[in-house]
Symmetry: C2
Subunit: 215 residues, 2 copies
DNA sequence: GAAAGTTCTCAACAACTGTTGAGAACTAAA
DNA sequence: TTTAGTTCTCAACAGTTGTTGAGAACTTTC
């Protein structure tokens, strides 16, 4: 009945505590990898549980449902958009290269950072529901992180979405589809190819009538 | 036993023929739309059959299996890559615009043309098997259609794959994810934003050391 | 030792999946 | 009308899916 019956007057109680976080994290790790590789509907809870060396029902016990597990995977990623947003600070002449490089570091680098993003992208392309989730994430974060850096300018927002889509497209071609000429390139030479194009998208406003946006 | 027992010495025989092609085509149409919308594993034969106003087993009877139905949908699309390849013919100054416009006409236009492509892309992003299928398709067709137009140049092949990935990325952002600033733009203004970037990718070889490729 | 609390597994359910075989419903020829 | 051939549906299969509830196995406190 009463809460204060706790054994040693603390929140800690009797049972085993060591395995708890370890299994939970193993599940999250396995789910991250599988969602990134097979998409949402292509991944199964039994498969994830098997990878984590755990029974499927434990996954349910920790995360409630497959949808919540997926949400936990997405939430487990660090705030990548703010890292990309930081690339907007600096001289305009090298804007394309900074943004391109930041994108590759986030999407093409450490699995802990890239796998949740790839999972979200795969799921978003695979189902309308996840697409809404991704859309909202972009909508929120981009406004929060990029808003202060740029004046509210519909044209610049369009340019950012185009440039982002292009960069994501290259990552999709390289990592998800596996186009061989893209896979073979190392990151630096890819940046060499791509940065001028991104620069053309992002800084073209400076050549047109209404400008003074970025700097 | 013998084949020549056919009633009127023709290939035509007794049963109803009207429904045949109509149902087959209705199934193919429904499958095209659903694969494009929900991906491969997200689509069900029962759902496709329901859209076509037909029992699920009829789908099996016509196409044998879900995989073969998918292959039929992919094969039903016209040869889009050759249409894009044609855009490479012409003055180099407007190469970016021609290619960009051709891409949008193919990927963002008539459902009969764009839906098989979107279906293949969704499936390729959703599973490794379909990714191989897409990779092979690109490998074959690009070499066949673009090979004669360009000299065999690894650098140009890389540039083409990058530009294609970028354009596909924009289509994904616009059609599959639904980024609102991209959805709002009409095609012409999108081309206005994007063409210079594609031009930068495709014709940048002319500015670098080893050149003479495109012209 | 017993008791309490935690972590985890077993077995099963209900729904849905692709797929199959048998037989209706219909159409055209005899 | 009978017969043969075609188009299509019904009912069911075996497997997999997410999900659930009961109870083992283990750890700490008394």
């Amino acid at each position: 009945m009463s809460i204060d019956q706790a054994p040693s007057a603390r929140g800690l109680s009797t049972g085993p505590r060591l395995g708890s976080r370890a299994s939970r994290e193993a599940i999250l790790l396995a789910a991250r990898a599988r969602f990134a590789k097979d998409g949402f509907s292509g991944s199964t809870i039994r498969g994830i549980a098997g990878d984590a060396g755990v029974d499927a029902s434990l996954v349910m016990q920790y995360f409630g449902s497959k949808n919540e597990l997926f949400a936990a995977v997405i939430a487990s990623g660090p705030n990548t958009i703010s890292r990309i947003a930081e690339a907007f600070d600096g001289p305009e002449a090298s804007l394309g290269e900074r943004v391109t490089r930041a994108f590759f570091e986030v999407w093409d680098g450490d699995p802990g950072e890239s796998e949740p993003l790839q999972a979200l992208l795969r799921a978003a392309i695979g189902s309308e529901q996840a697409a809404t989730q991704l859309r909202d994430l972009i909508q929120e974060r981009v406004l929060v992180d990029l808003g202060p850096r740029l004046q509210h300018d519909a044209d610049m927002k369009t340019r950012i979405e185009i440039a982002s889509s292009m960069l994501v497209g290259v990552v999709v071609g390289r990592r998800l589809v596996g186009l061989d000429a893209l896979v073979r390139q190392d990151r630096d030479s890819l940046v060499g190819y791509i940065a001028p194009a991104i620069q053309a998208i992002l800084s073209a406003g400076a050549h047109s009538a209404q400008l003074g946006v970025v700097m």
